[in-house]
């Protein structure tokens, strides 16, 4: 009996000992809530639990221009919070060394519901996404090895990594997880539309009329509540002769995917001009004009748009009123996202 007691005591001591070692690493878990009535997110949170420390690290990385090849461009320079994390008033964004990007910067919002990334869907996991803009020669132009070395030498990052992951080891995987943690907090669900759906507000007449037209003419691709069905479609835009961007076909190598691009979410659409995968539409009116008069019917043009999308001036007016209800000012000004203060806006010294 004495022996059993002895074994028990040793087990308890060991458990306590392990507990003691781990006592310094206690990240604060963040409760990530799915807005009411929304589908289940596709991101696997079980493999990357959101913590305050992880989000803080991701946010620091997102706003750090030192990650780029010449120290001038942070992620946040082309993904500006007040423009729903697109580049404000830019058709294409600016990379290091006077480069232009090949596509219009997409909004960063509600990424937990997206199963692949980039407008051609080439990236299959959010944790991996940061590598593309970080290393592309016409974006941040960085060398991953040098980025890791920079982070390892920086004592501030040592502390941030330790707080987020328990020790100061810096791996590509940890960087990716930290980026994801921050990006996953960027959830937009407080627009007027959302408040109407929750019964907290009411549409005025033009908004309501616009919503009715939207449900009839737009919602099959821009599906609620995310305002995208996540599919890739050719909306009849001609091939730009300088960019030669064939979209989804670049990834699948299937001719049936030529000129198809991801259906963008319309959340915060009023602040994300210009529009189109290469930013060729400067205003919402240009987009409507494309749909009703300029759709080019090619072999891969979406069957719903073969003859364009008839829209009267009256309908365009009502739709515009409705689309403005998708602007989420809580999201655009949330100080927790880090892109609202003058200091962070000035952090990158890249002139736009």
């Amino acid at each position: 009996m004495k022996q059993t007691f002895c074994i028990l005591l040793m087990v308890i001591m060991t458990v306590l000992g392990i507990g003691w070692i781990n006592i310094t690493y206690k990240p604060k878990l963040i409760a990530w809530i799915v807005p009411k009535g929304w589908p289940k997110p596709t991101y696997r949170f079980a493999q990357n639990r959101l913590t305050e420390e992880g989000v803080a690290l991701g946010k620091t990385l997102f706003f750090d221009p030192q990650l780029s090849a010449d120290g001038t461009i942070a992620c946040a320079d082309c993904h500006q919070q007040f423009a729903a994390f697109t580049t404000y008033e830019h058709s294409l964004s600016h990379g290091v060394g006077n480069h232009l990007t090949n596509r219009n910067a997409t909004a960063l919002q509600n990424l937990a519901w997206q199963s692949n990334f980039m407008q051609d869907g080439g990236i299959n996991h959010l944790d991996v996404q940061f590598l593309a803009p970080l290393t592309a020669p016409n974006e941040m132009g960085a060398d991953l090895e040098k980025v890791v070395q920079y982070l390892q030498k920086n004592s501030r990052y040592s502390l941030l990594f330790k707080a987020a992951f328990g020790d100061t080891t810096i791996t590509t995987q940890r960087i990716g997880k930290a980026f994801s943690q921050y990006l996953l907090t960027l959830v937009s669900y407080n627009s007027k539309y959302d408040k109407v759906m929750r019964g907290e507000a009411q549409f005025i007449l033009p908004e309501q009329l616009g919503y009715d037209i939207f449900k009839k003419k737009c919602a099959s691709c821009h599906r609620e509540p995310l305002f995208t069905d996540g599919s890739f479609r050719n909306i009849g835009m001609t091939l730009d002769s300088t960019l030669h961007d064939v979209g989804r076909m670049h990834i699948t190598l299937n001719a049936a995917d030529s000129l198809k691009f991801r259906v963008p979410s319309l959340r915060n659409v009023a602040v994300t001009a210009p529009y189109g995968h290469d930013g060729r539409f400067y205003s919402l009116y240009n987009v409507f004009e494309h749909y009703r008069n300029q759709v080019v019917g090619g072999p891969t043009t979406d069957s719903l748009l073969r003859r364009g999308l008839p829209l009267s001036n009256y309908e365009i007016g009502q739709l515009t009123a409705f689309l403005h209800t998708l602007t989420d000012s809580v999201f655009l000004t949330n100080p927790q996202f880090g892109g609202t203060s003058f200091g962070t806006l000035k952090m990158g010294n890249h002139p736009h």
Partner: protein, 238 residues
């Protein structure tokens, strides 16, 4: 109390008896890179491929995964890690130790490349860290095999020969399985010879003049993968 002792005795017996059966040997798998009979030397040596095109290599890297050795009784032995990155420039990477039993080995099988299950679940560590330079960021996926070389026959900028081979999607799958049988059962060192002549010419004839660059999954990557799978043989020499 009596039961406790009985259980302890049973556990001790189980552990020791298992150990007796699983007595292991460590066998070394060494990778050797050649062009025909000539040993590969990076940077300094010019070789000629089967199309009489000159070529000087600067880099050779590839993934070996799911390595399985089979002994004379048909028992299978696996490596400690699932995936190894073989890098010509890093001699330690070219030597893999495997625990096997007392019996000699008669067969080896492995994949060249990375299982799709590792390519859709986010970032990996170790041999699969994107830091190893074997990862496509614009079109998620691993490069399974890679050469950087130069040849006067190449019309690409700087006469580069740059083959990055990968692809896991349907119709783009470049993962290849290789299975080799030993002519004489192997007891100690297992030397895996890769003949780079076959990289350009075996299942498919892929002269440098026509195919100096492959940087994405697709038909050419799959054809190169077919060729690469033919490169390997077990050396008769120990």
């Amino acid at each position: 109390m009596k039961y406790l002792y009985a259980w302890l005795l049973a556990i001790v017996l189980f552990v020791t008896s298992n150990r007796a059966v699983a007595q292991t040997n460590t066998l070394l798998l060494r990778c050797k890179h050649q062009l025909g009979d000539a040993i590969l030397q990076l940077h300094t040596q010019q070789y000629r491929n089967g199309f009489d095109e000159p070529i000087t290599f600067h880099m050779l890297k590839y993934y070996l995964s799911n390595i399985v050795l089979t002994d004379t009784q048909g028992k299978e032995w696996k490596t400690k890690n699932f995936i190894y990155l073989i890098d010509e420039n890093d001699s330690t990477s070219k030597c893999i130790s495997i625990n096997v039993g007392n019996l000699p080995i008669v067969m080896i099988s492995f994949n060249i490349g990375v299982d799709s299950s590792y390519q859709t679940v986010g970032l990996q560590t170790g041999a699969l860290d994107p830091l190893k330079g074997m990862f496509w960021s614009w079109n998620t996926g691993y490069v399974y095999a890679k050469i950087e070389a130069q040849s006067a026959a190449s019309k690409a900028p700087t006469h580069a020969v740059s083959h990055h081979i990968g692809g896991y999607l349907q119709q783009q799958n470049a993962l290849r399985k290789v299975q080799l049988t030993a002519q004489i059962p192997i007891r100690e060192n297992l030397v895996l010879v890769a003949d780079l002549q076959k990289w350009f010419n075996s299942v498919h004839a892929l002269p440098i003049a026509q195919y100096p660059v492959c940087h994405s999954p697709g038909t050419l990557a799959m054809q190169l993968a077919d060729n690469i799978a033919q490169m390997f043989s077990l050396s008769k020499l120990p």
